[in-house]
């Protein structure tokens, strides 16, 4: 059974060669996670989300990024540098509602990216831990909708 907190280790534990397309997919997911982490970090600094929520989401994105980075390096791929600054993030920090909507957009795209990854990756050993991250991002969508006062399941 995969316990909470074990997923990063499980992702990293298989230090064997992986197909290049898989490494590219993991690298793109890592960039996405770092963008999310940077967004919540900015929100925390600027008060653009309630502090407990911003802190929790930032920390969770950081855990996701760490797990994927360990997995990449274990497979011989150097982790990419930090993502380019996002102009849309800077604009969203003008209000709490604007930031929550921006973050919800990032989370929506992350969920779609993980679904795509899970259907295309060839190395089946990473599917379960990445699925656990996918379910986490789906929970982040609920947390942000709650913050916005919107229906929690988007319907």
């Amino acid at each position: 059974m995969l316990a909470a907190g074990a997923a990063p280790l499980a992702l990293a534990a298989v230090a064997t060669a992986a197909p290049k397309p898989d490494l590219d997919v993991l690298e793109r997911l890592l960039t996405r996670e770092r963008r999310l982490e940077a967004a919540y970090e900015a929100a925390l600094r600027r008060g653009a989300l309630s502090e407990p929520l911003a802190r929790a989401l930032r920390d969770q994105e950081r855990e996701h990024a760490r797990g994927i980075e360990m997995s990449l390096t274990a497979r011989g791929r150097r982790a990419p540098g930090p993502p380019e600054p996002d102009r849309a993030l800077a604009a969203s920090l003008r209000s709490r509602e604007a930031f929550a909507r921006y973050a919800l957009g990032l989370e929506d795209r992350a969920v779609r990216a993980y679904v795509d990854a899970l259907s295309s990756l060839r190395d089946t050993r990473v599917l379960q831990p990445l699925g656990a991250i996918l379910a986490s991002e789906a929970q982040h969508q609920v947390a942000l909708r709650r913050f916005l006062g919107e229906p929690l399941l988007g319907v």
Partner: protein, 180 residues
């Protein structure tokens, strides 16, 4: 809460629900090739049927926002049933049938109030998350994995909603594994 459903009780009940799903159905004489994923999806379908029945049972104890969300979640679980049904038939399989409400009721724990109903829902949603995650590496093709991933994400969101209804953070942990 005195007399309310304990976590141990809910887990035991959830295990009974899972163990009893489809166990008396006769094995198919013909059908999909071994390893097609149909058998795996069928075991999840049996669990989904049980979860739909559990929401119907729990709805009688819920009020207000909790009742409203229980109905929305139950509708989405029925949609999962339809999707799994279609996938299994597409693989040439025979789909697991839903049991009668009485049969399900006998395998569910006694629920005294809304808190019990939400605790039971939480444990069943965890079980669903785990079932979809465990299926991912075993499903042989991209379309089936995509379906399992999409539905697994839905179950993660359901778990978050149940968390909120129980007065807890929506997203309490970074890796949602369905660990019971």
């Amino acid at each position: 809460m005195a007399g309310s459903l304990t976590r141990r009780g809910a887990l035991g009940a959830a295990a009974v629900v899972l163990a009893s799903c489809g166990s008396s159905d006769p094995p198919p004489r013909t059908g999909p090739r071994p390893g097609s994923g149909a058998g795996l999806l069928n075991s999840i379908l049996a669990l989904e049927h049980a979860v739909v029945a559990a929401y119907a049972t729990g709805a009688g104890l819920l009020r207000g926002e909790a009742l409203r969300y229980a109905r929305v979640i139950a509708d989405q679980e029925r949609e999962h049933v339809r999707r799994l049904d279609e996938l299994i038939r597409g693989l040439g399989g025979t789909t697991a049938r839903s049991r009668t409400p009485d049969e399900y009721a006998r395998s569910f724990p006694v629920l005294h109030d809304g808190a019990d109903a939400l605790r039971f829902a939480h444990d069943l949603e965890e079980r669903l998350v785990r079932a979809y995650l465990q299926a991912l590496p075993k499903l042989p093709d991209a379309e089936l994995r995509r379906a399992a991933a999409e539905i697994g994400a839905d179950e993660g969101a359901h778990l978050a909603v149940i968390n909120v209804l129980r007065g807890r953070p929506a997203a309490p942990q970074p890796f949602v594994t369905g660990t019971l």
